[in-house]
Symmetry: C2
Subunit: 226 residues, 2 copies
């Protein structure tokens, strides 16, 4: 029995969902509110925030938290079907560089401004989004989209020639921004092509069906031909 | 020929130095100033900040940046001598959880306040440290030290029963704070015992010999019996 504790519009939770789904692993989803986690969840997960993966095994319960640890754990069976890591150490390093770039750089420069203002503030009732903060986040986003577009000029996927954990990190982040209608896809051709490929994968389908009460996604969010 | 571009008091650079040294890999160190990187470095490393590892191979030059990608790359030879990753996927997940905790949580809650105020501001000439900001960083540090102390009550090393990348991440961060005399070791017995073990390793010696001009470490910084 495998359970993923998640929050639908949390990019870290989305990475974990995508990795499990790409590996065709069955799991139950349990929703946790990041800014008001329940006692049961805090007892289970020392980090105190989603995502957290639990697995019942013969020797007890495995509990893994942080997106990076969960994704690596799920991918940690080189040679298996549906690989999420490439074959050489050099290629794997590029996957990890890009995953880290999303976990630290993109998250700090974009999410910390846009997602926290538009989601956390609104849901935790701590005020309206600050337009000045949003503006900074949107500037960062543009800057980072230019970098990603430049990378995608010479590679099919975010970290090289095959789908990897880096694409799942990227897709998790971009899909949350897209849910909030923050991405003007017409301006980003290369990025749009890549996102279209990713969005069409079965692993993405549950994310496109997410609906957070009180916050409607734009019509194109779930559309594969956006 | 292997070269690591680093900055001495950057925890990410220190993680990379420790990982290479633990693996007994030879490398040349080239210093890069994070807030004023040179053109040559920017051409080499798209991230634009240290650490960056380059290796000349038969097929060209490998360039790897971000501490996480470099450390995983260096550790990416399961079964070799001097392992930095444990044997089971569950144990590796715990190493990655803790490494991620340092890369994201500790770095965001502590470094972003203490290191950026006391090092970056002073060296980049952008002003004196703000005591209010330092106070917040020090409060976070105490809180996180309590968590680490609690973990070390039931394990010999940060992520389990053997030395791993998680210890290198922890040692890299704590040693920078110690260089700045921010750690009152007498208050943290368990953490001190762990740090003493790590500090005594040959891999740590070059870090203890670091001297950043204009910023003297306290006497106990290089002392193995502090």
């Amino acid at each position: 029995m495998r359970t993923l504790y998640h929050w639908p519009l949390d990019p870290d939770s989305r990475q974990a969902r995508l990795a499990l789904a790409e590996k065709k692993l069955k799991f139950k989803l349990v929703q946790v509110t990041p800014w008001a986690p329940e006692e049961d969840f805090l007892r289970l997960c020392t980090e105190g925030v989603p995502p957290c993966l639990t697995e019942d095994t013969n020797t007890g319960k495995t509990v893994i938290s942080t997106a990076r640890a969960i994704c690596e754990f799920v991918a940690d069976d080189q040679g298996s079907r549906y690989p999420l890591m490439p074959n050489t150490p050099q290629e794997r390093a590029e996957v990890r560089r890009m995953a880290q770039w999303f976990d630290v750089k993109f998250a700090g420069d974009v999410n910390a401004y846009i997602l926290s203002e538009r989601i956390e503030k609104s849901f935790s009732g701590t005020g309206a989004p600050d337009p000045a903060v949003l503006r900074v986040g949107r500037e960062h986003m543009k800057f980072h989209f230019e970098y990603l577009s430049w990378l995608l000029e010479t590679r099919d996927w975010i970290a090289g020639s095959s789908l990897s954990l880096a694409d799942l990190a990227a897709g998790a982040h971009l899909s949350c921004l897209d849910y909030l209608d923050e991405v003007n896809w017409d301006k980003w051709d290369g990025l749009k092509n890549w996102y279209q490929k990713l969005k069409s994968r079965p692993s993405f389908r549950p994310l496109l069906a997410d609906i957070v009460p009180g916050l409607r996604p734009p019509r194109h969010y779930a559309d594969l031909d956006f």
